[in-house]
Subunit: 192 residues, 2 copies
Amino acid sequence: MENIKEDRRIRRTKKLLKQALAQLMDEKDFKDITVKDITERADLNRGTFYLHYTDTYDILNKIEDEILKNIQNMIDQNIEKTNASDSVIPALKPIAEYIMENADICRCLINNKASVDFIEKFQNLIYDNCSDIIKRRHNVKDSKQNEFYLSFITLGIIGMVKKWLETRPMVSAEEIVVFVDQIMTYSSAALK
Amino acid sequence: MENIKEDRRIRRTKKLLKQALAQLMDEKDFKDITVKDITERADLNRGTFYLHYTDTYDILNKIEDEILKNIQNMIDQNIEKTNASDSVIPALKPIAEYIMENADICRCLINNKASVDFIEKFQNLIYDNCSDIIKRRHNVKDSKQNEFYLSFITLGIIGMVKKWLETRPMVSAEEIVVFVDQIMTYSSAALK
DNA sequence: GTAATAATCAACAAAATGTTTATTATCATT
DNA sequence: AATGATAATAAACATTTTGTTGATTATTAC
């Protein structure tokens, strides 16, 4: 899958560039961030950026994908637990915990005015991991209704996560997951 | 509020620029669209663009705001009807109809990878117009739960609208609104 | 018909983009 | 420690985009 191990210099450079971008995104709109901004902040040559990324949107996407890959791994590690249970809580809890641990960068990405990509990818991740459970729980007749329901639920959850990331001090992962489960359970009654 | 009436030349220019942008957004990512692209497509001088907008993000925002202003007007015109009823259907139906009529541009804005602004603004609009009704229907105790619930619902609705805009042929406005109402009604039980 | 002003054209400086070449620094490996 | 591979640098470059300017033409409202 991935190259046995990247050269230490490459790891260092990519890390510095990503850190620099994350910093800058806290300071201004993504659209106003240039390659020069990033490399200056990272204290690297501008040309070095182009050795690893094509443009600012490319590095942003890589950051997003990394976060989502980590979340997917969390889920995969708990897949047995999830299948054993009939609740979505075991599936959602590790995600919530990971988001809690990486709240700063997640808040940054979810609020980022540059791209709906992250939200869309996140929604797809939730869909891919929850739709089976939901479908199993409610043997839905009308597939059209089911599709709308899943779109509603999956983006709705992101709405909650977004609100959650704004709470100070942050509501616990446990608490938010229980509430997500509640709201999913009740709203699914609309399918009957 | 607005200047009695804009010069006909200005109206024409703005319209051409907006049309050109809408066309281009169907063809490529917003981030790759330049001022030159827009003015060339509109067959106008590049300098003319800067007489009306500061940059590509500015004109995009203006288009978004116009759509949302129209939706808000639809709602305001039916405010009495909405207050009389205790359902959200009268509030949502004119919105759904307007979206249906302007499906192309709405699909463009809601899927636009350049900006989460539209979705955020749209969510706020739904919130502003529905939160009172929801709060009235369910006298919620825990305000924290209530906030999460509203974030869930308002973005969830947008998820459905997004899915709805992808249906071919498009599901009727009537149908989608009834389903939104259903799902809102049932999911609100999670607040009890 | 006239005064006001929008749009055009051409030119411009400044900034950002993306690429290239030669050079230096660091790496993994033995 | 020495070595071959390669990442990062520095400097330069053409190209594109950005905003702005001033003079001119065309259209508008009245």
